[in-house]
């Protein structure tokens, strides 16, 4: 494998990794928001957690 092919490989992996980091990061943030909201809804309805 020449140097250019190694760099191409690393950049391709970086692009795929960045994509998944952004997508899963957003999904995790959404999950946390959902959980906080659920607690808030329970508090409003007077139910115990």
């Amino acid at each position: 494998m020449d140097q250019a092919a190694i760099l191409d490989h690393e950049f391709r992996i970086a692009a795929y990794a960045v994509t998944w980091t952004i997508q899963l990061g957003y999904l995790a943030w959404l999950g946390l928001k959902w959980r906080a909201q659920k607690r808030n809804a329970e508090r409003l309805s007077g139910k115990p957690r």
Binding site: D8, V18, I22, L27
Partner: protein, 233 residues
């Protein structure tokens, strides 16, 4: 039944993602000119397509909100929730486009960024929708949703400009692969891999869009109940 349907959809989406990855890495060949770096196309282009679709959903939601805000309150709230969800998930996909693009450009062109029409209009699109989200987050008062809807419509006007930019102007960004001139097109194996990834990313996008919509609707209901409790106090 609903839980089963959602579970099935998640399973199908994950299978599509795995199949798309397999197609992109093990089935599609390396590009003759660009080598392996060309495989970024299988994440970059579907992300752009899904971002455009979700900004279109935001546009429809914004128009719906403006149309129904006085006559049908409940419909207007539903439309507003779709507008916000479309904009937010669209920004996520547009962020993917704006990060994978420079990684590809650095290897293909030798530069991370250039102010050509395609890249600049995409950045402007991203900035408009980030402004939309900041407005939603930090502005308060009864006019906030209306202002956001107007900004959402204004932002969507940039989508066709981004799409047509490399047809209207000479750009560093490559000419269209599909729907371009007679020299455009791809190897059939590459087309197959690209289409599978388009389907996979669309399925993934719809999954998180649905989740975001649900969170927003719940938020609207909590806000309405809090407002009612404040009135009753």
């Amino acid at each position: 039944m609903k839980k089963f349907a959602v579970g099935l959809y998640v399973a199908v989406t994950l299978a599509l993602m795995a199949w798309g990855y397999y197609q992109a890495i093990y089935v599609a060949p390396n590009d003759a000119m660009q080598g392996e770096i060309f495989r970024i196309i299988y994440y970059h282009v579907p992300s752009a397509s899904v971002a455009f679709l979700f900004f279109a959903i935001s546009l429809v939601g914004s128009i719906g909100f403006l149309a129904w805000r006085r006559s049908r309150q409940e419909w207007a709230q539903i439309a507003d929730a779709w507008a916000l969800s479309g904009a937010e998930v669209g920004v996520v996909f547009c962020t993917v486009v704006l990060t994978t693009g420079p990684l590809w450009g650095r290897r293909a062109w030798g530069i991370w960024w250039t102010w050509d029409a395609r890249l600049t209009t995409t950045l402007v699109l991203w900035l408009i929708y980030v402004s939309y989200l900041l407005l939603r987050r930090f502005a308060a008062g009864p006019q906030m949703q209306t202002l956001a809807a107007v900004l959402g419509i204004f932002g969507a006007l940039d989508v066709p400009i981004v799409y047509m930019s490399n047809r209207w102007w000479r750009t560093q960004h490559p000419a269209p692969v599909f729907g371009g001139d007679s020299n455009s097109g791809m190897d059939p194996t590459m087309v197959g891999a690209l289409l599978w990834n388009m389907v996979a990313w669309l399925a993934w996008g719809l999954l998180i869009l649905g989740l975001r919509y649900r969170v927003e609707r719940q938020q609207q209901k909590i806000a309405a109940r809090e407002a009612q409790e404040a009135l009753n106090a």
